[in-house]
Amino acid sequence: MPEVPKSISEARQNLPSLCQTAEARLNRYIITVQGEPQSVLLGYKDYQGLKAAAELLNRPELVADVRRGLNEIENGQRMSLEDVRKHLREHAKASEISDLATELGGKSGVDADTVATIMGVFFDKVRADFSSIGKFNIPGLGSIAVKDTQTEPPDKTIASLFGRTASPKIGRRAKASPGVKYVVLEPTITMKGLLEAGTKK
């Protein structure tokens, strides 16, 4: 990246061509006033690159990350975009479970890890019951049964299942994924039943 001194009068006369070469050849022009350097004219990409380098200097943890990341790439320790997407989905699911376990643990006074373990067992039972008998019984409330399976995503939301009109945004139909079957559920629980159950302690 050559640094070329230019007097301010020369810079003024040739500004368009200086801008062009600053961008195309990454030239940096030191603008002088009465022989003294006063300012610098440089290309936009060059300026952004310098800003990125300056940011790195102020963030040692980022420098360490760049070094580590480069080493991993050199050693073939890398993931495809599809794997990253899958990892993010799994992590989001685990975070949701962990957040719910923390919330329920806080309310019940049981530690979150125990709640998370019980939730895991509970979800396994829900999956097993749906697979074997096609329904899941919620003691004292009713059941949720598999009504049908289809290859198209359902156009009903949970809200509409309970007789409420979902907003068009929430009710937007998802795209069908090849090879995926969607289950249509039929609850025998009403919102009234759920609310009544919520008030019983």
Partner: protein, 78 residues
């Protein structure tokens, strides 16, 4: 179009930053553009590194990457 790869560090950082579905869609789209034109980012110097390092921003995420003829490697994300 080049194939996209993430270092394990880049994957870990992205997970820490917890992108929403909408943000991930934007990242997906922008990285697809980057795969077509890898010089979209800004090159910056880094400790005598022989590989060209570039920075590409998508919303609140900054991607640091390198590229070759066939692939783009995301080094880290901040």
């Amino acid at each position: 179009m080049r194939k996209l790869y993430f270092s394990l560090t880049a994957n870990r950082r992205l997970t820490d930053l917890r992108p929403t579905d909408e943000e991930f869609k934007a990242i997906d789209l922008q990285l697809a553009e980057l795969a077509k034109n890898p010089a979209l980012g800004f090159e910056f110097p880094f400790q005598n590194q022989p590989r060209k390092l570039l920075r590409f921003d998508v919303g609140r995420f900054g991607f640091i990457y390198t590229y070759g003829d066939e692939e783009i490697n995301v080094v880290t994300i901040f």
